[in-house]
């Protein structure tokens, strides 16, 4: 992948019914300052990754996020999906941190607890 290029997603609308899916997707390749081309909106090289694939990925992302799972009937913009994704990842990070706090208080010592760990393991499996 050449440095300084990236594919930008623009206004992807995702609806539950894939037959009605409107593909208003435009990809623009931006190159580095040193070798700037004129702003061409449609790059033939970008069709490597199809509209379908990206829209499919975005819809899968949408299904993963709890708040957005119910909104499939509406058309959701890529920007909203990305926003919710970021919020979700941040909340997961926070939870990991909180749980580490809780566990560090609960597990009195994390080294010699093989008996306790074995019991807990048998509980969880």
């Amino acid at each position: 992948m050449p440095k300084g290029t990236f594919i930008t997603l623009i206004g992807i609308r995702v609806s539950k019914n894939h037959r009605e899916r409107k593909k208003s997707f435009e990809s623009t390749k931006n190159v580095t300052m040193s070798s700037r081309r004129s702003r061409s909106r449609q790059s033939p090289g970008a069709s490597r990754i199809s509209d379908d694939q990206i829209a499919d990925l975005v819809s899968r992302l949408q299904q993963l996020i709890p708040e957005m799972r119910n909104r499939r009937s509406d058309k959701v913009s890529a920007s909203k999906v990305l926003q919710e994704t970021c919020n979700y990842i941040r909340s997961l990070h926070r939870e990991v941190d909180d749980l580490s706090d809780r566990l560090s208080e609960l597990l009195e010592s994390t080294d010699s607890d093989s008996a306790q760990a074995a019991i807990i393991r048998s509980l969880l499996m």
Binding site: T8, T85, C86, S104, T110
Partner: protein, 184 residues
């Protein structure tokens, strides 16, 4: 879901193993020491369930190693655990050298100025484009190794990363609840 359960079990085993290894290497006295041990082992464990097949897991391992060079032993043992140690030793050493080198390269690469192209036209489509670009930038900062990925790969990695994070949170939460039952 059978797959998810297996993943959780694998994570739990590696996490507990990692905790033991970490404690053999580092002394954990205070609560914050313990928290660091727990979090680090959990991160290494969840990354290792992907067996370096995804970028985020590799980037996470790199990050762990670059934080403290001693962590490489932990990473080595979790990645190569359960197999013939002598046979894999040379493989692991080259792998770990590669990880060290890569984390050095990452640190150097971060110092390069980030190029930004500002759109000049003020149409609504460019506003939408700007919004998505901004969100993508934030996402890149959240997913390990995200800075180097383009839009397509970033989303694929994000999908995998979110699934793994959920496994991590779920197992940690259950362990915390179970441990709370032991400590009335």
């Amino acid at each position: 879901m059978c797959n998810s359960t297996m993943l959780k079990q694998e994570f739990l085993k590696k996490w507990i193993k990692g905790l033991h290894i970490y404690n053999n290497l580092n002394k954990c006295v205070t609560i914050s020491d313990r928290k660091k041990a727990i979090k680090l082992s959990a991160d290494v464990a969840i990354a290792s369930t992907r067996k370096a097949a995804t970028h985020w897991s590799k980037a996470l391992m790199d990050d762990v190693v670059s934080r403290d060079g001693n962590n490489i032993i932990l990473v080595q043992q979790i990645l190569g655990g359960g197999q013939n140690a002598e046979k894999n030793n040379s493989g692991l050493i080259t792998c770990s050298n590669r990880i060290l080198r890569r984390s050095h390269n990452n640190i150097m690469a971060c110092r390069k100025a980030r190029r930004r192209v500002v759109p000049r036209c003020v149409k609504s489509s460019s506003i939408a484009r700007k919004l998505v670009k901004n969100k993508t930038r934030v996402l890149k900062s959240l997913v390990p190794g995200g800075q180097k990925m383009d839009g397509h790969r970033l989303i694929k990695e994000t999908l995998d990363y979110i699934v793994s994070l959920r496994v991590q949170v779920d197992v940690m939460r259950r362990l915390a609840c179970a441990a709370e039952r032991f400590h009335p």
